[in-house]
């Protein structure tokens, strides 16, 4: 049996320039830095303006989730689980709840399926809005952040009306969702979506036709298509390279098979194309939300009956549930040994590969001033790397 040789340069290879010559400067784009998404640091070695080597240091947000989850009952883990990926908590809840339902053999009612899809798409929109502010701000374009974070605030107000919390919702629980749609809620949603769409048109005009943004972002952080499988790159980073991969279509979970949307792909994966693709996905989220509101059943229960959560023992088994979050494939690997506490819950965040392996490769040869823009264009969030 002939096995092909692996066609990759060993990823962890570092450049070791001779630091005693005085030609290189070692610096930390460290945790205390306004140009870092979250709390992570990059140890850069620069020769003049060009970065020669980059090392990602994570662990500043390590709270030991996976250990803590083993000490709590299945239901007690819900408040913990949302805080793993701070800007997008709903995907954690969805993956964990679905894993529990699969292991315990619970089916959720029809309305809950639609409500969950609604919650996930709204979360995608809010997360993208926060991201685009960061991407423009990394190149000095501060206006976009002011607009998009305000729009995101309107979306968070919707979440507050629906679930009671702005950032952490704890809305998706096993058996369904926690509450039904309040009176007049969908009219608010449609108004907000109209405002957001108009604002996205403004953002597109101001950001993507801006000469400086085009100059700096085009060609930055180019990911060749061969890397997609070699490094396990998923999400808009992969789709921008032309690879047709979207878990909402591939897995067909929740109500996505019944919705009408096309996979958006680009031609080459550099910072400009990725930003353009994410903007188009924002428009797609808005259209999906409108479809969901149209097609959602008007009546029906929103939560099935659960056994007593204090004494709930889930049969032994294991499963891996994945969802398409804004950054890529978000997965939960849950193992149960038949008791009332989990045996092992492991979280697969997309930033795991993007921020460590891919970032270290891409940062070589980049200008120091563009490192922040490069990191934001990969859309990395440290909390899901170190849990």
């Amino acid at each position: 049996m002939k096995r092909e040789k692996a066609h990759i340069i060993p990823p962890a290879e570092r450049a070791h320039p001779d630091l005693s010559t005085g030609k290189y400067l070692v610096m930390w784009q460290g945790p205390q830095h306004p140009g870092i998404t979250g709390n992570m640091s990059l140890r850069l070695i620069a020769d003049g303006d060009t970065v020669v080597d980059c090392e990602t240091h994570v662990g500043y947000l390590h709270r030991g989730f996976e250990k803590l989850m083993e000490r709590r009952l299945w239901m007690q883990n819900f408040p913990l689980v949302c805080r793993i990926a701070v800007p997008e908590p709903d995907f954690n809840e969805y993956c964990y709840a679905t894993a529990l339902e699969e292991l315990a053999g619970i089916r959720i009612p029809e309305k809950a399926v639609w409500l969950r899809t609604f919650s996930l798409e709204l979360m995608r929109l809010a997360s993208f809005l926060m991201w685009i502010g960061g991407q423009a701000g990394a190149f000095g374009h501060g206006t976009i952040a002011q607009w998009s974070v305000t729009m995101r605030d309107y979306v968070l107000d919707l979440f507050e009306e629906l679930t009671g919390g702005r950032i952490y919702h704890m809305y998706i629980i096993p058996g369904g969702v926690r509450g039904d749609i309040p009176q007049g809620f969908f009219q608010h949603v449609l108004d907000v979506l109209k405002t957001v769409e108009k604002n996205l048109d403004d953002i597109e005009l101001v950001m993507f036709h801006n000469a400086i943004f085009k100059l700096r972002a085009e060609g930055l952080g180019y990911i060749p298509p061969e890397w997609i499988d070699q490094y396990g790159i998923t999400g808009p980073n992969a789709r921008a390279a032309g690879v047709q991969r979207d878990l909402r279509k591939d897995l067909g979970y929740l109500a996505y098979p019944r919705l009408d949307f096309k996979m958006i792909t680009g031609t080459k994966s550099d910072a400009y194309e990725r930003a353009k693709l994410r903007l188009l996905e924002m428009y797609q989220s808005i259209s999906l939300l409108r479809q969901i509101i149209d097609m959602m059943p008007k009546d029906g229960i929103f939560r099935g009956k659960l056994p007593n959560p204090l004494y709930w023992k889930i049969p032994a088994g294991e499963t891996y549930v994945a969802a398409e979050c804004t950054r890529g494939e978000y997965g939960f690997y849950v193992v149960s040994d038949g008791s009332d506490k989990p045996r092992r819950v492991a979280v697969r965040g997309p930033s795991y590969t993007h921020a460590v392996s891919v970032m270290e490769r891409l940062a070589r040869g980049t200008n120091i001033a563009d490192i922040a823009g490069l990191m934001v264009s990969l859309h990395t969030y440290p909390p899901e790397i170190e849990r």
Binding site: P31, Q32, Y60, G64
Partner: protein, 208 residues
């Protein structure tokens, strides 16, 4: 006037011997307030220009971002984010602090110029919050650096943050925001607590 004897220099044990002389070897000292109405004026000025250090230590940082937009608008209160500790006067600790982050928090706090204040967000800084049984998060931030205002919540809303900042202004105006002097007074106690938790201490004892 009697000269107060100088305190012993700090032994920067965490650094290699050839580098110890390069860093600060004096412990921080207390600052006495000015006399009467001058101190009131200074306190008024300090309370109206609170420059926040740009360090998103934890979850709470995500609710600092909406404050910069026009809906909540912290700029009208005189609050502004700054990129470096040398230019900031308020350190907002956004939530839980893991041991690795605590080391950087201590380093940034000691590098800030006085008068400096600390605002602690979230219940994780008060008693550990929901990570109370974690091996990597500390349970009381005021064992390691002095805190002036706590804002409870998980996480606090932007309105709660603004209310906390208004409380901080009130405390400063009254002359009660003495975190920096408390740190200098009890420097040995704070340092012992920090070194107890931060196992690889490879920085000076006082990061000025």
């Amino acid at each position: 006037m009697k000269e107060k004897s100088k305190p012993a220099p700090l032994a920067n044990e965490g650094l290699p011997p050839e580098e110890r002389g390069l860093f600060c070897d004096a412990a921080p000292r207390e600052y006495a307030p000015a006399q009467g109405i001058l101190e009131d004026f200074y306190n008024w000025a300090r309370s109206q220009s609170l420059w926040v250090l740009g360090f998103g230590t934890g979850c709470g940082a995500i609710e600092l971002r909406p404050l910069m937009t026009s809906r909540f608008d912290m700029y009208r209160f005189g609050i502004q984010p700054r990129p470096t500790p040398r230019q900031s006067s308020v350190f907002v600790i956004g939530g839980y602090a893991s041991v690795k982050t605590l080391k950087r928090i201590v380093r940034s706090y000691e590098q800030m110029m006085g008068p400096k204040f600390v605002v602690a967000l979230g219940s994780c800084t008060i008693n550990g919050g929901m990570y109370w049984d974690s091996y990597n998060t500390i349970k009381r931030i005021d064992q390691y650096i002095p805190v002036d205002v706590y804002i409870a919540g998980c996480m606090p809303r932007p309105e709660a943050l603004l209310a906390g900042f208004l409380e901080l202004k009130k405390i400063i105006r009254e002359g009660k925001a003495e975190g920096q002097n408390e740190y200098a007074r009890n420097f040995d106690w704070y340092k012992a607590n920090q070194k107890n938790v931060i196992k690889d201490w490879n920085m000076p004892d006082y990061n000025w």
